[in-house]
Symmetry: C2
């Protein structure tokens, strides 16, 4: 009987998550698949939102359950199909979880073309890309000449935000951790500037780059870099709160003085792209076209083998990725 390797949540983290909070299990695959497909996963996606799922608190999604396969998006190949909408040999993306094989009723899965690299469907042409598209186009709505700031600028979401904002004529300032990431954001992704929040000169450099203030902020990080940005908001600034990775295992990010909301007429909106299924087809089509045409660049950090997955999540949460964090299984 063929065996499926899986990673389950072994215990909820208290404080920082570690690889020891997960364990590898092996489980026999079923022998029949009536109404189901079986997907052989090629890539697993690691995403910052996963940290929140490990806590047993009410949030937008049911928490990850202990002893269950850790949830997450995968892309892979259909190897068995008992559903009319999928054929063996199709490539599909969906909520496969941290396992070699996923048995699914098709809900949440879609077929993908191989005209662009398969891994892109977990990043720039997947949930992170649509997240960038939504926050930029539906919340920030940048006008030509405005200044848009993007934190975690070299990440899976931030890189797309900045490139889309540049295409709309905005001036785009990235924030990232380290010289290498900042150089990539400027030179490869084409941001107007990218500032290293670890440099020790961040506050001053931000003031120089933001002499015209911030009209739009796409916030992925929170913490001290966010508090520095708050000082530069222009009247009618729009803040899309997408992620606060600095607070997932650290101190809460506060907003220091609500008077600014009135004095500057700030609009701040938190969002989850899963709430907006209506925009996905349009956003995915647009992002896929841009990638196909070579006009939307991205970078990946790819770890090898299912066993590497827990540590890949830990590293992602501490900036150990450069672009989209993935695990390659096949």
């Amino acid at each position: 009987m063929p065996v499926n390797k899986q990673i389950v949540l072994d215990s909820r983290p208290t404080g920082k998550v570690s690889a020891a909070n997960f364990r590898l299990v092996e489980k026999e695959l079923p022998t029949t698949y009536d109404g189901y497909i079986l997907v052989r996963n090629h890539y697993l996606s690691l995403d910052p939102y996963m940290r929140g799922r490990l806590n047993d608190v009410k949030s937008y999604a049911r928490p990850q359950q202990v002893d269950e396969v850790m949830g997450g998006a995968t892309v892979g190949e259909v190897v068995e199909s008992h559903r009319a909408e999928f054929a063996v040999g199709d490539f599909v993306v969906g909520p496969g979880g941290w396992q070699q094989f996923s048995m699914a009723d098709g809900m949440g899965w879609r077929k993908v073309s191989r005209e662009i690299p398969l891994s892109a469907y977990l990043g720039v042409v997947g949930m992170p890309g649509v997240t960038a598209w939504y926050g930029l186009n539906e919340i920030i709505k940048p006008k030509a000449g405005e200044t848009v700031v993007v934190s975690a600028a070299s990440g899976a979401v931030g890189g797309v935000v900045g490139q889309l904002a540049k295409a709309k004529g905005a001036r785009v300032i990235g924030i990232a951790g380290g010289r290498e990431k900042c150089a990539y954001v400027r030179e490869e992704l084409g941001f107007d500037a990218c500032l290293d929040y670890k440099s020790g000169r961040f506050e001053g450099e931000l003031s120089v780059s933001l002499q015209d203030g911030i009209d739009g902020l796409f916030e992925n990080v929170g913490g001290e870099p966010f508090l520095q940005c708050v000082k530069h908001f222009n009247d009618f600034a729009r803040i899309a709160v997408c992620g606060l990775i600095a607070s997932y295992e650290g101190a809460p990010t506060i907003f220091p003085n609500m008077l600014m909301f009135i004095a500057r007429r700030i609009k701040m909106e938190g969002f989850i792209v899963g709430d907006h299924p209506d925009v996905w087809p349009k956003a995915l089509a647009e992002l896929g076209d841009l990638v196909g045409a070579g006009r939307l660049k991205y970078r990946e950090t790819v770890r090898q083998g299912l066993e590497a997955t827990p540590q890949a999540l830990v590293d992602l949460l501490h900036g150990g990725n450069f672009g989209k964090m993935l695990v390659k299984l096949v």
Copy 2:
């Protein structure tokens, strides 16, 4: 030569404003009015935003200048007119300032009908009313059955917010200071409940009233009552930040944990009704009709005489008003 009594800002307050920050002056009226109107002010309006104008900091309006007549809205009668759009005997509302007579080029002034009480044009059918209308209809956009919370519920803005929200089918919970104000908000204005933040039982009473959570919050106060409300936000809650009177002379109001923006998909927007001249005609017409029909109730605290104005502002900032705070000159 006729004399005009005026109140000017004598010194900027450091900390709490007091009547001693202002001084009364007497100035001769001009003898010619080419291109101008002269308005004899009947009522002066006191509004919380005035406190912010006393600080010499960049905000949405130029600060009040020392030794200049303190700015503010007035309603009065045209007693001289050298402008085609106004006739002697017209009643008008506009930026008259703290003085008996205002000489004006007409900018910002509009004629009003006497079918409703003159003082209403400084409150429910004036800037405070339009403020309520805008924040409720353009930011909170309540649906029938949703819960809307309004702080400073007995005030000039809050009372209108709640009555308009009730008319849209929302459940409306007010917050006010003291039993008398709360009774008025429930019994006269028809809110579903009104909680006294000074009662010592506020936190518990709020939890009982908000078992279904908050869908919309019209925030006029900030401080501790706001922090209690934050605990009750529902998914997709909308917060209209209109005023933060608790912070104008006190500690800043912080937002304690930005993660809630994502977990609950909060939208928070600060606004100034002067930014939205397009809505004024529609809002004023609607509010005027409601007042004329007796379907929009309001209450006023009226002080007598120009000399009473500085203390009226001080009292307004500390909740010493019950409804709209006015000074009657004529």
